[in-house]
């Protein structure tokens, strides 16, 4: 990889386990600054575990992680979020009894109150559908709207690194299109994105590089081109 690009996230030799069952084994990866990097893998390959380990929601047994070159191994979850890592995980859902606006405000946990309204206004411009639903309880939104909300909530903080965990999960094809359109727009803002996806074709359409994960270990890494030609992506099992 080119030496001039500063990596937003560097992971080296990450091991995690669930009880005594190993989940991730020696995972090393880099998310280059301002680019979309994808992690591809089947259900249960360890993609979501990886996403949670980056935020220390799943504890790491071994390995080191660096955010913009700074070691963050000892940081608790909230400090990692405060330092600029945001995650949007479709499977985790929303704060269903709060309004859309309150959900976004929860995402803006570390934004100064004086800047909050300005920032929310920017979000509504990027996600016009949310402006219409401001006073509605998040639990009453449609699946697509909830995914929008989840992404919007994650970017309110203006993170350095955005982790998108399966954004297309359970969505109708037309909504999947829309979600990936948003990812393209986010890419244009020079934000670093780690896209964790099962849908390889879609993911590679926005990513510039990526990794393939199988049974908790990285089995292939390369540029988007190299990935799309690899046996792992062509393999119908995926």
């Amino acid at each position: 990889m080119s030496g001039t690009v500063v990596n937003t996230l560097e992971i080296d030799g990450l091991d995690t386990s669930y009880g005594r069952i190993p989940m991730l084994r020696g995972v090393s990866l880099n998310v280059p600054g301002g680019q979309v990097c994808c992690v591809l893998g089947a259900n249960g390959a360890g993609k979501t575990t990886l996403a949670k380990a980056i935020l220390n929601i799943v504890k790491a047994d071994n390995g080191t992680m660096k955010l913009e070159g700074e070691c963050m191994d000892s940081w608790p979850t909230h400090k990692r979020v405060k330092s600029g890592i945001a995650i949007s995980a479709a499977a985790v859902g929303t704060f269903h009894k709060m309004t859309v606006e309150d959900n976004l405000k929860m995402g803006a946990y570390y934004i100064d109150d004086s800047l909050l309204n300005e920032r929310l206004e920017e979000i509504y411009q990027s996600f016009p559908v949310l402006r219409e639903r401001l006073r509605q309880k998040a639990g009453t939104l449609s699946g697509g709207e909830r995914t929008m909300l989840a992404i919007a909530r994650a970017v309110v903080n203006k993170p350095k690194l955005l982790i998108l965990d399966e954004p297309s999960l359970g969505l109708a094809p037309i909504m999947v299109e829309e979600v990936f359109e948003i990812i393209r727009r986010l890419r244009a803002t020079q934000i670093s994105i780690l896209l964790v996806e099962q849908n390889a074709a879609k993911a590679l359409s926005v990513a510039s590089s990526g990794y393939v994960i199988q049974k908790g270990a990285i089995v292939f890494s390369g540029t988007a081109d190299e990935l799309s030609r690899s046996e792992f992506v062509e393999n119908p099992v995926m």
Partner: protein, 320 residues
């Protein structure tokens, strides 16, 4: 009609005392997903702390130096510090160690904590050796150790006012307290975080909420709420027994279950419903007092079986 009105007032007052304990349950259940069974004991500890502090401050002449209301506020603060400390101890010793074990563990360990709190009170406030003075006063007397150890609660709430005025103040304080709690939960960052944790703990972590800090703050605030409950319960009942906590705990928990464990307003509705049932069963059914609590608990069992979500249930559960 006169009796109806009298009973209604009694029920509202009793409902206030239940509600305040029930809110403790729903606050803790909300953020921790565990039933903290020693809420009642913490509240009763609060009222005993206030009682003890009153005796000490009175003998130290505090009431002569400062205006009455300053002293009372100080006493409540002392109670609040004690209850907050118990809240913290409960979290650290009875809940945190069992975070990753079965839900039953914190339930049992908080029951055990309740027993500890109760026995500590029992030790500090020795069973009163009641001197049943007999005909032979001058010579000797029978001593009977009264296990229930009733202690008179000092008149700290409108000591000069009428009973009706005092009752009005109790209702008013409960209402103000509920309003403040509502503001706190909905208008402050910490309050919103508590709700967030209650609704989706994983997402709360992902949002960057310092969950363990919020949990500790919840226990502190819950402790303070329970201390004020203890103060109001004491001022209303005027007679406290160190083992009253189990009864208030059971009633508060029932109120919370009937209303909906996660919902603060549910605690109010549940507390009032329970109190109304109890008071009216006792008031209108001949010899009903012996069974009023039983009727109330039967209602709770019916709710647990048929409507476990309570009156204000969690209807908008998200389907993923």
């Amino acid at each position: 009609m006169d009796m109806f009105f009298g009973l209604a007032v009694s029920a509202i007052l009793l409902g206030c005392t239940y509600t305040l304990v029930a809110i403790g349950f729903s606050l803790f259940f909300g953020v921790m997903d565990v039933v903290v069974f020693c809420c009642g004991d913490i509240a009763i500890f609060g009222s005993f702390a206030i009682m003890g502090a009153y005796v000490v401050s009175q003998s130290a002449g505090l009431f002569g130096i400062f205006p009455f209301w300053v002293c009372v506020t100080l006493l409540i603060l002392i109670g609040a510090v004690f209850c907050a400390a118990w809240g913290l101890i409960t979290h650290q010793l009875s809940i945190k160690p069992f975070q990753n074990s079965s839900e039953l563990m914190p339930l049992l360990s908080t029951i055990a904590m309740g027993t500890v709190i109760k026995e500590v009170l029992g030790l500090l406030f020795k069973p009163v050796v009641n001197t049943i003075s007999t005909a032979f006063d001058s010579e000797s007397a029978v001593t009977v150790v009264s296990g229930r150890n009733p202690q008179g609660f000092p008149s700290l709430l409108l000591p000069g006012g009428t009973v009706d005025a005092r009752h009005l103040v109790i209702i008013a304080i409960t209402a103000v307290l509920l309003f403040l709690l509502f503001l706190f939960l909905n208008k402050t960052k910490i309050g919103m975080s508590m709700q967030a944790i209650s609704q989706n703990k994983e997402l709360s972590l992902m949002t960057g909420i310092n969950v363990s800090r919020v949990i500790i703050i919840t226990f502190l605030i819950g402790g303070v709420m329970l201390a004020i409950s203890g103060f109001l319960v004491g001022s209303y009942q005027k007679l406290m027994s160190f083992d009253d906590g189990a009864m208030y705990g059971a009633k508060g928990f029932s109120a919370a279950v009937v209303g909906g464990l996660r919902n603060t307003w549910g605690a109010v509705i549940g507390g009032m419903l329970l109190a109304f049932v109890e008071v009216f069963v006792s008031g209108y059914i001949p010899r009903g007092t012996a069974y009023s609590s039983i009727v109330a608990f039967v209602i709770v069992v019916i709710f647990i079986v048929f409507k476990p979500d309570g009156i204000i249930g969690d209807k908008s559960v998200e389907k993923v």
